[in-house]
């Protein structure tokens, strides 16, 4: 942050809008001196910086309520508003910023109400345009120069020793840690640790994967299925071989003339057996078809008898008559002739008789439906009878076929028996061989069937396992991801911890060394400044060979504080020049705004500090009284002045003593008589010939 300007309006002793004070920012002439007598507004000006940036005032700033200039309030009509504001400009990382904090006060009957402050920020673009940033101005300011650090850069020189006072130590240590980036690393490590815990809980929630076990199981089943499939191929080949062998053996047997007849008979029986078996299969199929198509009819007898019961009941109650419909009776009456030939005339016996049927007869439509349904129900009953007949027929046929197959098999057995016992050895041995082939084929067929069933079962099992594995796979992916995240977080924590350790070595010790150098140069005491591992600054003495804390004087503490601030700015500048460091502040430029410096210091120390501070700070703004300026400070700093201003105080005291300061051969008024009853301050720029 390089300050460029400040402008005030009705802020404390500054009446109206002041001219814009340009702040020196050169390399050599980086110092701005503001001269002012006691009461002229030097402290107000220092507080203008902290107020506009952080809405804060220094501890020495007594009356915060009296923010708005008294003359401005007095000159305002009742009920009117008075505006009070401070606007500053700075540059940071190539961007220009302007910030204005305004407070509007209202003058009422007898009192004055100050409203809330309003902060506005503009950021200058490369095109020369000023834009209002989207981010909150407070946030932007805090990112550039955190509020916690402001006491390093804007301070009351006479109270500077407060920085090292024991009750402020922790606060300053905190600020130092923030400044050096240690706090950011500490928080990052702590919060990454929290995140890691959450990730570990997530991992637990996913649970252990059973995928390995499932994969092993799947592999085992697949191996088994493969083995059986291979065996099936073997069986198939073996069966083919056995069939061929059987055929050959049979042919050989038939070729033997003695056996020829028996063989032919055997062949004949075999084909009969095959035909019967075919027929048997067909009959079984037919039976299945009958049962599936019409089997239901036998289960309906109870329902049909219920239906008949309902119809009979309706008939008995006369709600459903059978045979004669009203339409039919009406036709007879209209045609005046009965179906028996009798004439039907109104009043005669036949007419009366037929007419009475009108009451007994039902509607033909209902009747018709009932009749139709009855016919269908009858049909169902008939079908049930037909079904049983057919089933009986098919079963009889099946029994017949079974018998005839068994008969044929018996005949075949006989033939084979005869062949087996044939005197001709060759015939009997061939038959025995055929028997063996048969039994082998039979055995293979059974094995083939069993295997087929097993393959089907294993395939179903594998499909089930595949589904389970897919589900577990998803879980496993989640687990792997969670684990990778945990590992990455742990790695980040470890690396940040290592950076913190190295930074500790580099920054804290280098900083301590620099403070020691600067302090030793300025102070005549043999004391040594130390920065503890908690970043607390202390002064120790080592005269007895043992380090002991020093009860330092105000002056010593002032020197220590200034040495500390100067060394921090100096080291950070050095580190950021070497390399753009992630862990330290974005910029290497920091301003020091110091009100009434070196109050309690002796001449020698003042000279040293006046010489050292402009060298170490990037930018220096010093607010001084005539006596603070004169002498060694003037001698050391004059060459460093880039800008210079005088605060002219207009006193309302009737016979006030006027005062002047001579700068570069010119007289500038420090105190003047006010032309009215108000006291106020004006800012005047000093022009030196360089």
């Amino acid at each position: 942050m390089k300050l460029t300007s400040i402008k005030l309006c009705n802020f404390r002793s500054f009446y109206g809008t002041t001219p814009e004070m340009i702040i020196a920012g050169g390399d050599a002439q980086n110092t701005t001196i503001i001269h002012g007598n006691n009461g002229s507004g030097k402290t107000s000006l220092l507080n203008a910086f902290t107020w506009v940036l952080y809405d804060k005032f220094s501890a020495a700033f007594a009356s915060i309520e009296q923010l708005v200039n008294k003359r401005a309030i007095a000159e305002t009509q009742k009920g009117q508003a008075v505006e009070c504001w401070v606007e500053i400009g700075w540059e940071h990382e190539g961007k220009r910023y302007r910030v204005k904090r305004a407070c509007r006060g209202y003058k009422n009957e007898g009192d004055f109400d100050a409203g809330k402050t309003q902060l506005t920020m503009w950021v200058g673009g490369d095109d020369g345009k000023w834009n209002i940033p989207i981010q909150q101005p407070d946030d932007i300011i805090n990112q550039i120069l955190p509020a916690t650090l402001h006491q390093y850069f804007f301070f009351d020189g006479e109270r500077i020793e407060e920085i090292v006072r024991s009750d402020k130590k922790a606060e300053i240590a905190e600020a130092t840690k923030i400044f050096l980036g240690v706090e950011v690393i500490n928080r990052s490590i702590r919060h990454l640790g929290d995140a890691k815990k959450t990730l570990e809980n997530d991992l637990k929630a996913i649970g252990d994967s059973e995928i390995k076990q499932l994969l092993r199981q799947q592999e085992k089943i697949e191996r088994e299925r493969e083995r059986i499939t291979k065996r099936q191929t073997e069986i198939k080949e073996e069966l083919e071989y056995q069939q061929t062998f059987k055929k050959e053996t049979s042919n050989r047997l038939r070729e033997l003339s003695a056996a020829k007849e028996l063989q032919e008979r055997w062949q004949d029986l075999e084909s009969q057996k095959a035909a019967n078996q075919e027929e048997y299969k067909k009959t079984k199929e037919a039976l299945k078809k009958v049962i599936s198509a019409r089997g239901y009819t036998v289960l309906l007898s109870e329902t049909t008898s219920q239906f008949r019961g309902i119809i009979n009941d309706l008939k008995q109650r006369g709600e459903l008559t059978s045979g004669i419909s009203r339409e039919f009776v009406n036709d007879l009456l209209n045609s005046q002739r009965c179906i028996c030939g009798a004439e039907l005339h109104e009043g005669n016996h036949s007419h009366t008789h037929v007419s009475t049927w009108l009451n007994k007869a039902g509607s033909s439509a209902v009747e018709e439906t009932a009749i139709r349904m009855l016919a269908q129900v009858d049909e169902i009953d008939k079908q049930a009878i037909g079904f049983w007949e057919e089933v009986d027929r098919e079963q009889t046929r099946i029994n017949q076929l079974r018998q005839s197959i068994s008969q044929i098999e018996g005949d075949l057995d006989n033939i084979q028996e005869r062949l087996r016992k044939d005197a001709n050895e060759e015939i009997s041995s061939l038959q025995k061989r055929l028997d063996e082939i048969e039994s082998k084929i039979d055995e293979l067929n059974r094995e083939q069937g069993a295997n087929q069933q097993q393959i089907a079962q294993l395939t179903t099992e594998i499909e089930g396992l595949n589904k389970q594995i897919a589900k577990q796979k998803l879980n496993e992916d989640k687990q792997t991801l969670a684990q990778r995240r945990i590992n990455a977080t742990q790695d980040a924590i470890e690396r940040l911890t290592e950076v913190r350790n190295r930074q500790e070595q580099q920054f804290r010790l280098q900083l301590e060394k620099r403070v020691q150098e600067i302090f030793t140069e300025i102070s005549v005491t043999p004391y040594i400044p130390k920065i503890s591992d908690k970043y607390e600054l202390t002064l120790v003495e080592n005269t007895t060979g043992v380090e002991a804390p020093v009860a330092a004087s105000t002056g010593e503490n002032q020197i220590l504080s200034l040495s500390f601030i100067a060394s921090i700015i100096d080291k950070v500048r050095e580190w950021s020049e070497k390399r753009k460091m992630m862990m330290i502040p974005d910029s290497s430029t920091f301003p020091i705004v110091m009100d009434s410096p070196f109050g309690s210091l002796d001449e020698n120390s003042r000279r040293h500090i006046a010489k050292t501070i402009p060298q170490l700070a990037n930018q220096l703004i010093v607010l001084v009284t005539k006596t603070q300026w004169r002498g060694e400070v003037e001698a050391e700093i004059t060459d460093r002045i880039g800008r210079e201003y005088v605060l002219t105080y207009y006193s309302s005291k009737p016979d006030c003593e006027q005062d002047y300061i001579e700068l570069s051969g010119e007289r500038y008024p420090l105190v003047k008589q006010s032309p009215n009853e108000f006291e106020y301050t004006e800012i005047m720029e000093v022009e030196r010939d360089r």
Binding site: A147, S188, L199, A488, R502, Q505
Partner: protein, 57 residues
């Protein structure tokens, strides 16, 4: 490590990190830096978790 060791060494654990870890560190660091002035740490854990989950997919 000596006190005069190169300043690059301070950042070495970060520059030598695998890309995803480096990204996590840099993003968490920026997040924490941006909220240095805030005392309350609500949502920071959710934000950090989001960073980790985005960087390690």
């Amino acid at each position: 490590m000596s006190q005069e060791a190169n300043i690059d060494d301070v950042q070495e654990p970060i520059t030598s990190a695998p890309p995803e870890v480096r990204q996590i560190i840099e993003r968490v660091w920026k997040l924490e830096k941006g909220r240095l002035d805030k005392k309350i740490n609500s949502h920071v854990n959710d934000n950090i978790l989001d960073i980790i989950k985005e960087e390690v997919r």
